[in-house]
Protein backbone atom coordinates (compact mmCIF):
# COMPACT_ATOMS: atom_id res chain seq x y z
CA UNK A 1 0.00 0.00 0.00
CA UNK A 2 1.46 3.32 -1.06
CA UNK A 3 2.62 5.75 1.62
CA UNK A 4 1.88 9.40 0.99
CA UNK A 5 5.06 11.26 1.91
CA UNK A 6 7.07 14.32 0.91
CA UNK A 7 9.11 14.18 -2.28
CA UNK A 8 12.39 14.34 -0.36
CA UNK A 9 11.31 11.45 1.85
CA UNK A 10 10.17 9.36 -1.14
CA UNK A 11 13.53 9.82 -2.87
CA UNK A 12 15.56 9.27 0.30
CA UNK A 13 13.74 5.99 0.96
CA UNK A 14 14.14 4.58 -2.54
CA UNK A 15 17.18 5.89 -4.43
CA UNK A 16 20.68 4.91 -3.32
CA UNK A 17 24.10 5.42 -4.88
CA UNK A 18 24.71 2.87 -7.61
CA UNK A 19 21.02 2.04 -8.18
CA UNK A 20 19.47 1.50 -11.57
CA UNK A 21 16.77 4.15 -11.82
CA UNK A 22 14.12 4.61 -14.49
CA UNK A 23 12.48 8.05 -14.55
CA UNK A 24 9.93 7.46 -17.29
CA UNK A 25 7.42 9.58 -19.20
CA UNK A 26 7.37 9.44 -22.98
CA UNK A 27 7.51 13.11 -24.04
CA UNK A 28 4.80 13.80 -21.39
CA UNK A 29 4.67 13.64 -17.57
CA UNK A 30 8.47 13.60 -17.31
CA UNK A 31 9.27 13.54 -13.57
CA UNK A 32 11.57 16.59 -13.47
CA UNK A 33 10.95 17.49 -9.82
CA UNK A 34 11.80 13.96 -8.67
CA UNK A 35 14.95 13.85 -10.80
CA UNK A 36 16.07 17.19 -9.38
CA UNK A 37 15.49 15.86 -5.86
CA UNK A 38 17.73 12.87 -6.67
CA UNK A 39 20.44 15.36 -7.64
CA UNK A 40 19.90 17.53 -4.55
CA UNK A 41 20.31 14.43 -2.40
CA UNK A 42 23.68 13.93 -4.07
CA UNK A 43 23.12 10.48 -5.53
CA UNK A 44 26.03 9.12 -7.57
CA UNK A 45 26.99 6.25 -9.87
CA UNK A 46 23.44 5.77 -11.04
CA UNK A 47 22.46 3.56 -13.93
CA UNK A 48 19.94 5.83 -15.62
CA UNK A 49 17.30 4.05 -17.69
CA UNK A 50 14.92 5.90 -19.97
CA UNK A 51 13.63 5.45 -23.51
CA UNK A 52 14.01 9.13 -24.34
CA UNK A 53 16.66 10.80 -22.21
CA UNK A 54 15.91 14.43 -22.88
CA UNK A 55 16.56 17.55 -20.79
CA UNK A 56 16.17 15.85 -17.39
CA UNK A 57 18.78 13.20 -18.14
CA UNK A 58 20.98 15.80 -19.83
CA UNK A 59 21.00 17.56 -16.45
CA UNK A 60 21.62 14.38 -14.46
CA UNK A 61 24.43 13.33 -16.78
CA UNK A 62 25.86 16.85 -16.85
CA UNK A 63 26.35 16.98 -13.07
CA UNK A 64 28.05 13.58 -13.17
CA UNK A 65 25.39 11.55 -11.35
CA UNK A 66 25.34 8.71 -13.89
CA UNK A 67 27.86 5.95 -14.54
CA UNK A 68 25.70 4.25 -17.16
CA UNK A 69 22.85 5.13 -19.50
CA UNK A 70 20.32 2.70 -21.00
CA UNK A 71 18.19 4.35 -23.67
CA UNK A 72 16.77 4.39 -27.19
CA UNK A 73 16.73 8.07 -28.24
CA UNK A 74 18.82 10.83 -26.73
CA UNK A 75 17.71 14.10 -28.25
CA UNK A 76 16.06 17.37 -27.34
CA UNK A 77 12.69 16.68 -28.98
CA UNK A 78 12.05 18.98 -31.89
CA UNK A 79 15.17 21.03 -31.14
CA UNK A 80 18.28 18.92 -31.71
CA UNK A 81 21.19 17.59 -29.71
CA UNK A 82 21.51 17.01 -25.98
CA UNK A 83 24.81 18.74 -25.35
CA UNK A 84 25.61 17.29 -21.89
CA UNK A 85 24.78 13.77 -23.12
CA UNK A 86 27.06 14.34 -26.11
CA UNK A 87 29.82 15.86 -24.02
CA UNK A 88 29.78 12.85 -21.68
CA UNK A 89 29.94 10.34 -24.53
CA UNK A 90 32.23 12.29 -26.87
CA UNK A 91 34.63 13.72 -24.26
CA UNK A 92 33.96 11.90 -20.99
CA UNK A 93 32.95 15.14 -19.26
CA UNK A 94 32.35 15.40 -16.34
CA UNK A 95 32.96 11.66 -16.24
CA UNK A 96 32.92 8.88 -18.81
CA UNK A 97 29.56 7.22 -19.21
CA UNK A 98 28.85 3.67 -20.28
CA UNK A 99 26.07 3.33 -22.83
CA UNK A 100 23.61 0.55 -23.67
CA UNK A 101 21.27 1.51 -26.43
CA UNK A 102 18.27 -0.08 -28.08
CA UNK A 103 15.48 0.82 -30.44
CA UNK A 104 12.22 2.13 -28.96
CA UNK A 105 10.53 -1.19 -29.76
CA UNK A 106 13.35 -2.99 -27.99
CA UNK A 107 13.18 -0.82 -24.86
CA UNK A 108 9.37 -1.03 -24.78
CA UNK A 109 9.51 -4.81 -24.96
CA UNK A 110 12.21 -4.93 -22.30
CA UNK A 111 9.83 -3.09 -19.97
CA UNK A 112 7.00 -5.46 -20.96
CA UNK A 113 9.18 -8.43 -20.03
CA UNK A 114 10.10 -6.70 -16.78
CA UNK A 115 6.46 -6.00 -15.88
CA UNK A 116 5.55 -9.58 -16.76
CA UNK A 117 8.49 -10.91 -14.70
CA UNK A 118 9.62 -12.89 -17.71
CA UNK A 119 13.34 -12.98 -18.51
CA UNK A 120 12.90 -11.75 -22.10
CA UNK A 121 10.49 -10.79 -24.87
CA UNK A 122 10.52 -11.71 -28.52
CA UNK A 123 10.28 -9.25 -31.40
CA UNK A 124 11.27 -8.66 -34.99
CA UNK A 125 14.08 -6.15 -34.99
CA UNK A 126 17.82 -5.42 -34.76
CA UNK A 127 18.53 -7.89 -37.59
CA UNK A 128 20.53 -6.28 -40.38
CA UNK A 129 21.54 -3.27 -38.29
CA UNK A 130 24.77 -2.48 -36.44
CA UNK A 131 22.79 -2.14 -33.20
CA UNK A 132 22.65 -5.92 -32.76
CA UNK A 133 26.43 -6.15 -32.40
CA UNK A 134 26.64 -3.24 -29.95
CA UNK A 135 23.93 -4.09 -27.46
CA UNK A 136 22.46 -6.89 -25.41
CA UNK A 137 20.09 -8.80 -27.68
CA UNK A 138 20.22 -12.42 -28.82
CA UNK A 139 18.68 -14.31 -31.71
CA UNK A 140 15.93 -16.79 -30.92
CA UNK A 141 14.26 -19.32 -33.18
CA UNK A 142 10.52 -19.83 -33.32
CA UNK A 143 9.90 -23.43 -32.25
CA UNK A 144 6.88 -23.64 -34.56
CA UNK A 145 7.91 -21.87 -37.79
CA UNK A 146 11.70 -21.92 -37.54
CA UNK A 147 11.80 -18.15 -38.15
CA UNK A 148 14.70 -16.40 -36.48
CA UNK A 149 13.59 -13.48 -34.32
CA UNK A 150 15.28 -11.39 -31.67
CA UNK A 151 15.08 -11.71 -27.89
CA UNK A 152 15.49 -8.63 -25.70
CA UNK A 153 16.26 -9.06 -21.99
CA UNK A 154 13.87 -7.89 -19.27
CA UNK A 155 14.38 -4.48 -17.67
CA UNK A 156 13.78 -4.61 -13.92
CA UNK A 157 15.10 -1.33 -12.50
CA UNK A 158 15.87 -0.99 -8.81
CA UNK A 159 13.67 2.10 -8.79
CA UNK A 160 11.01 3.48 -11.12
CA UNK A 161 9.81 7.06 -10.76
CA UNK A 162 6.92 8.52 -12.73
CA UNK A 163 4.72 11.59 -12.57
CA UNK A 164 0.90 11.47 -12.78
CA UNK A 165 -1.99 13.88 -12.57
CA UNK A 166 -3.60 12.64 -9.36
CA UNK A 167 -3.70 10.19 -6.48
CA UNK A 168 -6.27 9.43 -3.83
CA UNK A 169 -5.52 8.94 -0.13
CA UNK A 170 -4.91 5.21 -0.62
CA UNK A 171 -2.23 6.04 -3.17
CA UNK A 172 -4.25 4.90 -6.16
CA UNK A 173 -2.97 6.92 -9.09
CA UNK A 174 -4.49 8.14 -12.35
CA UNK A 175 -2.69 9.56 -15.34
CA UNK A 176 -4.13 10.52 -18.72
CA UNK A 177 -2.93 11.84 -22.05
CA UNK A 178 0.06 10.07 -23.59
CA UNK A 179 0.61 7.04 -21.30
CA UNK A 180 4.07 5.99 -22.54
CA UNK A 181 5.63 3.07 -20.67
CA UNK A 182 4.90 4.27 -17.15
CA UNK A 183 2.68 1.38 -16.12
CA UNK A 184 5.27 -1.12 -17.31
CA UNK A 185 8.12 0.74 -15.60
CA UNK A 186 6.27 0.74 -12.26
CA UNK A 187 5.34 -2.93 -12.49
CA UNK A 188 8.90 -3.88 -13.50
CA UNK A 189 10.75 -2.08 -10.70
CA UNK A 190 11.66 -3.20 -7.18
CA UNK A 191 10.84 0.19 -5.60
CA UNK A 192 8.45 2.79 -6.94
CA UNK A 193 7.69 6.47 -6.53
CA UNK A 194 4.86 8.38 -8.15
CA UNK A 195 4.75 12.16 -7.94
CA UNK A 196 1.37 13.76 -8.57
CA UNK A 197 -0.04 17.15 -9.42
CA UNK A 198 -2.72 16.82 -6.77
CA UNK A 199 -4.38 14.55 -4.23
CA UNK A 200 -8.09 13.91 -4.67
CA UNK A 201 -10.72 12.41 -2.40
CA UNK A 202 -11.71 9.80 -4.94
CA UNK A 203 -10.40 8.88 -8.37
CA UNK A 204 -12.98 9.31 -11.12
CA UNK A 205 -11.73 7.48 -14.16
CA UNK A 206 -11.24 9.76 -17.18
CA UNK A 207 -11.38 8.99 -20.88
CA UNK A 208 -7.96 7.58 -21.66
CA UNK A 209 -7.21 7.37 -17.95
CA UNK A 210 -4.66 4.82 -16.78
CA UNK A 211 -5.31 3.85 -13.15
CA UNK A 212 -2.56 2.21 -11.12
CA UNK A 213 -3.61 0.74 -7.77
CA UNK A 214 -1.84 1.99 -4.68
CA UNK A 215 -0.85 -1.53 -3.63
CA UNK A 216 1.77 -1.77 -6.38
CA UNK A 217 3.27 1.62 -5.47
CA UNK A 218 5.63 2.28 -2.54
CA UNK A 219 5.52 6.07 -2.25
CA UNK A 220 3.29 8.82 -3.59
CA UNK A 221 4.43 12.42 -3.21
CA UNK A 222 2.56 15.57 -4.15
CA UNK A 223 4.56 17.69 -6.55
CA UNK A 224 2.44 20.31 -8.32
CA UNK A 225 4.07 21.25 -11.62
CA UNK A 226 6.45 18.35 -11.04
CA UNK A 227 6.82 17.55 -14.71
CA UNK A 228 7.62 21.09 -15.95
CA UNK A 229 9.05 22.04 -18.50
CA UNK A 230 7.36 18.83 -19.73
CA UNK A 231 3.64 18.83 -18.92
CA UNK A 232 0.74 17.04 -17.29
CA UNK A 233 -2.12 16.91 -19.81
CA UNK A 234 -5.08 18.96 -18.67
CA UNK A 235 -3.16 20.65 -15.86
CA UNK A 236 0.12 22.17 -17.05
CA UNK A 237 1.42 23.24 -20.47
CA UNK A 238 4.64 22.08 -22.12
CA UNK A 239 7.16 24.94 -22.01
CA UNK A 240 8.35 24.64 -25.60
CA UNK A 241 10.45 27.80 -25.18
CA UNK A 242 12.45 26.25 -22.40
CA UNK A 243 13.25 23.26 -24.60
CA UNK A 244 14.67 25.73 -27.14
CA UNK A 245 16.49 27.74 -24.45
CA UNK A 246 18.06 24.57 -23.08
CA UNK A 247 19.93 24.23 -26.37
CA UNK A 248 21.76 27.47 -25.47
CA UNK A 249 22.13 26.90 -21.72
CA UNK A 250 23.53 23.40 -22.14
CA UNK A 251 26.05 24.09 -24.91
CA UNK A 252 28.60 25.56 -22.53
CA UNK A 253 29.90 23.66 -19.48
CA UNK A 254 30.19 26.69 -17.20
CA UNK A 255 26.86 28.14 -18.22
CA UNK A 256 25.26 24.76 -17.59
CA UNK A 257 26.82 24.48 -14.14
CA UNK A 258 25.74 27.98 -13.18
CA UNK A 259 22.21 27.29 -14.34
CA UNK A 260 22.01 24.02 -12.39
CA UNK A 261 23.39 25.70 -9.27
CA UNK A 262 20.87 28.51 -9.52
CA UNK A 263 17.78 26.54 -10.52
CA UNK A 264 18.19 22.97 -9.28
CA UNK A 265 20.96 22.42 -6.75
CA UNK A 266 20.37 25.63 -4.86
CA UNK A 267 23.71 25.73 -3.12
CA UNK A 268 23.77 22.01 -2.39
CA UNK A 269 26.98 20.42 -3.62
CA UNK A 270 25.74 17.49 -5.68
Amino acid sequence: MAQLVSLSEAIAETVHDGDSVALEGFTHLIPFAAGHEVLRQGRRDLELIRMTPDILYDQMIGVGAARRLVFSYGGNPGVGSLHRFRDAIEHGWPRPIEVEEHSHAGMANRYVAGASRLPFMVMRGYTGTDLAAHTNVRPITCPFSGEELMAVPALNPDVAIVHAQEADRDGNVQLWGIPGVQKEALLAASRTVVTVERTVERIEQRPGGVVIPGWVIDFVAESPGGSLPSYAAGITQRDNNFYREWDVISRDREQFQAWMEAHVLGGVTA
Binding site: S72, G78, F85, S103, H104, N109, L131, P179, G180, R238
Partner: protein, 251 residues
Protein backbone atom coordinates in the same frame (compact mmCIF):
# COMPACT_ATOMS: atom_id res chain seq x y z
CA UNK B 1 11.51 11.70 -32.01
CA UNK B 2 12.34 9.68 -35.04
CA UNK B 3 12.09 10.90 -38.55
CA UNK B 4 13.14 14.45 -37.91
CA UNK B 5 14.47 15.68 -41.21
CA UNK B 6 17.13 18.28 -40.71
CA UNK B 7 17.17 21.62 -42.47
CA UNK B 8 14.53 24.15 -41.68
CA UNK B 9 12.84 26.28 -44.27
CA UNK B 10 15.00 29.21 -43.41
CA UNK B 11 18.13 27.33 -44.39
CA UNK B 12 17.00 26.73 -47.95
CA UNK B 13 17.88 29.22 -50.62
CA UNK B 14 15.35 30.41 -53.13
CA UNK B 15 15.18 28.67 -56.48
CA UNK B 16 14.37 30.68 -59.53
CA UNK B 17 10.72 30.05 -60.26
CA UNK B 18 11.04 29.72 -64.01
CA UNK B 19 8.22 27.23 -64.19
CA UNK B 20 6.06 28.36 -61.33
CA UNK B 21 4.62 31.77 -61.08
CA UNK B 22 5.17 32.14 -57.36
CA UNK B 23 8.55 32.45 -55.66
CA UNK B 24 9.29 29.62 -53.25
CA UNK B 25 12.27 28.14 -51.43
CA UNK B 26 13.60 24.68 -52.19
CA UNK B 27 12.74 23.74 -48.62
CA UNK B 28 9.13 24.64 -49.31
CA UNK B 29 9.18 22.59 -52.48
CA UNK B 30 10.65 19.62 -50.61
CA UNK B 31 7.80 19.75 -48.09
CA UNK B 32 5.24 20.11 -50.86
CA UNK B 33 6.65 17.14 -52.81
CA UNK B 34 6.57 15.08 -49.61
CA UNK B 35 2.93 16.09 -49.03
CA UNK B 36 2.02 15.05 -52.57
CA UNK B 37 3.46 11.57 -51.95
CA UNK B 38 0.70 11.05 -49.38
CA UNK B 39 -2.16 11.50 -51.84
CA UNK B 40 -4.24 8.32 -51.84
CA UNK B 41 -2.50 6.85 -48.79
CA UNK B 42 -4.42 5.56 -45.81
CA UNK B 43 -2.07 6.28 -42.94
CA UNK B 44 1.33 7.77 -42.30
CA UNK B 45 3.79 7.46 -39.49
CA UNK B 46 5.56 10.79 -38.87
CA UNK B 47 8.12 12.39 -36.65
CA UNK B 48 8.44 16.10 -35.95
CA UNK B 49 9.95 18.73 -38.25
CA UNK B 50 9.47 18.63 -42.03
CA UNK B 51 7.66 15.24 -42.03
CA UNK B 52 5.02 16.64 -39.70
CA UNK B 53 4.64 19.78 -41.80
CA UNK B 54 4.32 17.71 -44.97
CA UNK B 55 1.74 15.37 -43.48
CA UNK B 56 -0.36 18.24 -42.12
CA UNK B 57 -0.15 19.88 -45.53
CA UNK B 58 -1.29 16.64 -47.18
CA UNK B 59 -4.36 16.60 -44.91
CA UNK B 60 -5.11 20.22 -45.93
CA UNK B 61 -4.65 19.88 -49.67
CA UNK B 62 -4.54 16.29 -50.93
CA UNK B 63 -5.94 13.83 -48.45
CA UNK B 64 -8.18 15.10 -45.64
CA UNK B 65 -8.77 11.53 -44.38
CA UNK B 66 -5.06 10.72 -43.99
CA UNK B 67 -4.47 9.11 -40.59
CA UNK B 68 -1.44 10.56 -38.79
CA UNK B 69 0.38 8.26 -36.38
CA UNK B 70 3.06 9.47 -33.95
CA UNK B 71 5.21 7.03 -31.99
CA UNK B 72 4.19 8.74 -28.74
CA UNK B 73 1.02 6.67 -29.08
CA UNK B 74 -1.35 9.10 -30.80
CA UNK B 75 -3.24 7.50 -33.68
CA UNK B 76 -5.37 9.69 -35.91
CA UNK B 77 -4.01 12.94 -34.50
CA UNK B 78 -5.39 16.09 -36.18
CA UNK B 79 -3.14 18.87 -34.89
CA UNK B 80 -3.87 22.43 -36.00
CA UNK B 81 -0.30 23.55 -35.29
CA UNK B 82 2.83 21.83 -36.55
CA UNK B 83 3.93 20.13 -33.31
CA UNK B 84 7.34 20.92 -31.81
CA UNK B 85 7.59 17.50 -30.19
CA UNK B 86 5.81 14.24 -30.83
CA UNK B 87 4.47 14.55 -27.31
CA UNK B 88 2.69 17.87 -27.76
CA UNK B 89 -0.63 17.90 -25.95
CA UNK B 90 -2.57 18.71 -29.10
CA UNK B 91 -1.68 15.34 -30.60
CA UNK B 92 -3.30 13.34 -27.80
CA UNK B 93 -6.26 15.73 -27.54
CA UNK B 94 -7.14 15.37 -31.22
CA UNK B 95 -6.29 11.69 -31.70
CA UNK B 96 -8.84 8.97 -32.43
CA UNK B 97 -7.06 6.82 -29.86
CA UNK B 98 -3.96 7.06 -27.72
CA UNK B 99 -2.07 3.88 -26.89
CA UNK B 100 0.90 2.95 -24.75
CA UNK B 101 4.33 2.79 -26.35
CA UNK B 102 4.50 -1.03 -26.18
CA UNK B 103 1.11 -1.26 -27.88
CA UNK B 104 2.19 1.26 -30.53
CA UNK B 105 5.14 -0.87 -31.58
CA UNK B 106 3.66 -4.34 -31.00
CA UNK B 107 0.12 -3.92 -32.37
CA UNK B 108 0.39 -1.02 -34.83
CA UNK B 109 3.89 -0.45 -36.23
CA UNK B 110 5.32 -3.97 -36.17
CA UNK B 111 2.38 -5.73 -37.85
CA UNK B 112 2.23 -3.14 -40.66
CA UNK B 113 -1.05 -1.44 -39.70
CA UNK B 114 0.49 1.91 -40.70
CA UNK B 115 1.02 2.20 -44.45
CA UNK B 116 3.66 4.88 -45.04
CA UNK B 117 6.50 6.10 -42.83
CA UNK B 118 8.39 9.37 -43.13
CA UNK B 119 11.92 9.07 -41.78
CA UNK B 120 14.96 11.31 -41.64
CA UNK B 121 18.59 10.52 -40.95
CA UNK B 122 22.06 11.98 -40.65
CA UNK B 123 23.42 9.59 -43.28
CA UNK B 124 21.87 7.52 -46.07
CA UNK B 125 23.68 5.03 -48.32
CA UNK B 126 22.92 3.82 -51.88
CA UNK B 127 20.66 1.05 -50.51
CA UNK B 128 18.74 3.60 -48.43
CA UNK B 129 20.10 2.26 -45.16
CA UNK B 130 20.14 5.02 -42.53
CA UNK B 131 22.46 6.19 -39.77
CA UNK B 132 21.13 8.16 -36.84
CA UNK B 133 23.54 6.83 -34.21
CA UNK B 134 27.10 8.17 -34.52
CA UNK B 135 29.48 9.95 -36.86
CA UNK B 136 32.86 8.32 -36.46
CA UNK B 137 33.54 5.14 -34.52
CA UNK B 138 30.85 3.78 -32.24
CA UNK B 139 33.07 3.55 -29.17
CA UNK B 140 34.70 6.95 -29.75
CA UNK B 141 32.26 8.95 -31.84
CA UNK B 142 33.17 12.26 -33.38
CA UNK B 143 29.49 13.19 -33.13
CA UNK B 144 27.07 11.32 -30.97
CA UNK B 145 23.63 11.45 -32.63
CA UNK B 146 20.36 10.77 -30.79
CA UNK B 147 20.18 7.09 -31.72
CA UNK B 148 17.67 4.69 -33.19
CA UNK B 149 14.40 5.78 -31.61
CA UNK B 150 11.56 4.04 -33.37
CA UNK B 151 13.17 4.06 -36.82
CA UNK B 152 14.45 0.47 -37.15
CA UNK B 153 11.09 -1.20 -36.54
CA UNK B 154 9.14 1.53 -38.32
CA UNK B 155 11.30 0.98 -41.41
CA UNK B 156 10.64 -2.76 -41.41
CA UNK B 157 7.01 -2.57 -40.26
CA UNK B 158 5.47 0.00 -42.60
CA UNK B 159 4.76 -0.97 -46.21
CA UNK B 160 6.53 2.05 -47.72
CA UNK B 161 9.23 4.27 -46.31
CA UNK B 162 9.81 7.82 -47.54
CA UNK B 163 13.07 9.41 -46.46
CA UNK B 164 13.23 13.20 -46.26
CA UNK B 165 16.76 14.58 -46.10
CA UNK B 166 18.81 17.60 -47.14
CA UNK B 167 20.90 16.83 -50.21
CA UNK B 168 24.60 16.99 -49.36
CA UNK B 169 27.71 14.80 -49.50
CA UNK B 170 27.65 14.72 -45.70
CA UNK B 171 24.26 13.01 -45.75
CA UNK B 172 24.37 10.95 -48.98
CA UNK B 173 27.38 8.71 -48.34
CA UNK B 174 28.86 5.61 -49.94
CA UNK B 175 29.40 3.95 -46.53
CA UNK B 176 27.47 4.63 -43.34
CA UNK B 177 29.43 5.10 -40.11
CA UNK B 178 26.75 3.01 -38.41
CA UNK B 179 23.77 1.17 -39.85
CA UNK B 180 20.85 2.08 -37.59
CA UNK B 181 17.96 1.33 -39.93
CA UNK B 182 17.49 -0.91 -42.95
CA UNK B 183 16.51 0.53 -46.32
CA UNK B 184 14.63 -2.46 -47.81
CA UNK B 185 11.23 -0.80 -47.87
CA UNK B 186 12.27 2.67 -48.93
CA UNK B 187 10.36 3.68 -52.04
CA UNK B 188 11.22 7.38 -52.19
CA UNK B 189 13.92 9.75 -51.01
CA UNK B 190 12.82 13.36 -51.19
CA UNK B 191 15.56 16.01 -50.94
CA UNK B 192 15.75 19.72 -51.53
CA UNK B 193 17.19 19.01 -55.01
CA UNK B 194 15.01 16.19 -56.31
CA UNK B 195 13.72 12.69 -55.78
CA UNK B 196 15.59 9.36 -55.72
CA UNK B 197 14.01 5.93 -56.00
CA UNK B 198 15.51 2.46 -55.76
CA UNK B 199 16.25 1.01 -59.21
CA UNK B 200 17.71 -2.52 -59.12
CA UNK B 201 18.36 -2.00 -55.42
CA UNK B 202 20.27 1.27 -55.73
CA UNK B 203 18.98 4.78 -55.12
CA UNK B 204 18.73 6.49 -58.50
CA UNK B 205 17.80 10.02 -59.46
CA UNK B 206 14.33 10.01 -61.03
CA UNK B 207 13.08 13.56 -60.57
CA UNK B 208 14.68 16.99 -60.36
CA UNK B 209 13.15 20.00 -58.72
CA UNK B 210 12.67 22.88 -61.18
CA UNK B 211 15.91 24.68 -61.95
CA UNK B 212 18.18 21.92 -60.59
CA UNK B 213 20.56 20.02 -62.91
CA UNK B 214 21.61 16.37 -62.77
CA UNK B 215 25.20 17.60 -62.29
CA UNK B 216 24.21 19.66 -59.29
CA UNK B 217 22.62 16.62 -57.64
CA UNK B 218 25.66 14.46 -58.43
CA UNK B 219 27.99 17.06 -56.89
CA UNK B 220 26.01 16.83 -53.68
CA UNK B 221 25.93 13.03 -53.52
CA UNK B 222 28.72 11.01 -51.91
CA UNK B 223 28.52 8.17 -54.40
CA UNK B 224 28.48 7.88 -58.16
CA UNK B 225 24.76 8.59 -58.48
CA UNK B 226 22.93 7.08 -61.43
CA UNK B 227 19.99 8.79 -63.07
CA UNK B 228 17.13 7.26 -65.05
CA UNK B 229 17.14 7.79 -68.81
CA UNK B 230 14.58 10.55 -68.76
CA UNK B 231 14.62 12.41 -65.51
CA UNK B 232 11.29 14.05 -64.69
CA UNK B 233 10.86 17.52 -63.23
CA UNK B 234 8.76 18.09 -60.11
CA UNK B 235 5.76 20.25 -60.86
CA UNK B 236 6.34 23.62 -59.16
CA UNK B 237 4.16 24.34 -56.15
CA UNK B 238 0.67 25.38 -57.04
CA UNK B 239 -0.53 28.58 -55.51
CA UNK B 240 -2.95 26.50 -53.40
CA UNK B 241 -0.11 24.35 -52.04
CA UNK B 242 2.10 27.31 -51.31
CA UNK B 243 -0.64 29.32 -49.64
CA UNK B 244 -1.66 26.36 -47.50
CA UNK B 245 1.93 25.61 -46.46
CA UNK B 246 2.63 29.23 -45.50
CA UNK B 247 -0.61 29.51 -43.60
CA UNK B 248 0.22 26.26 -41.80
CA UNK B 249 3.69 27.28 -40.64
CA UNK B 250 2.48 30.71 -39.58
CA UNK B 251 -0.12 29.27 -37.17
Amino acid sequence: MTGRADGGLAASGPLAGGVAEAEYTNGELQTIVAARSLAGKRSCFIGVGRPSTAALLARMVHNPKLVLVYESGTIGAKPYHVPLSIGDGELAETADLVVSVPEMFNYWIGPGQVQVAFLGAAQIDPQANLNSTVIGEYEHPRTRLPGAGGAPEIATGCEEVVVIAPHSKRTFVQELDFRTTRGDRTTLVITDLGVLRPVDGELTLTTLHPGVSVEQVRENTGWDLKAVASVAVSPAPTSEELAALRELVSR
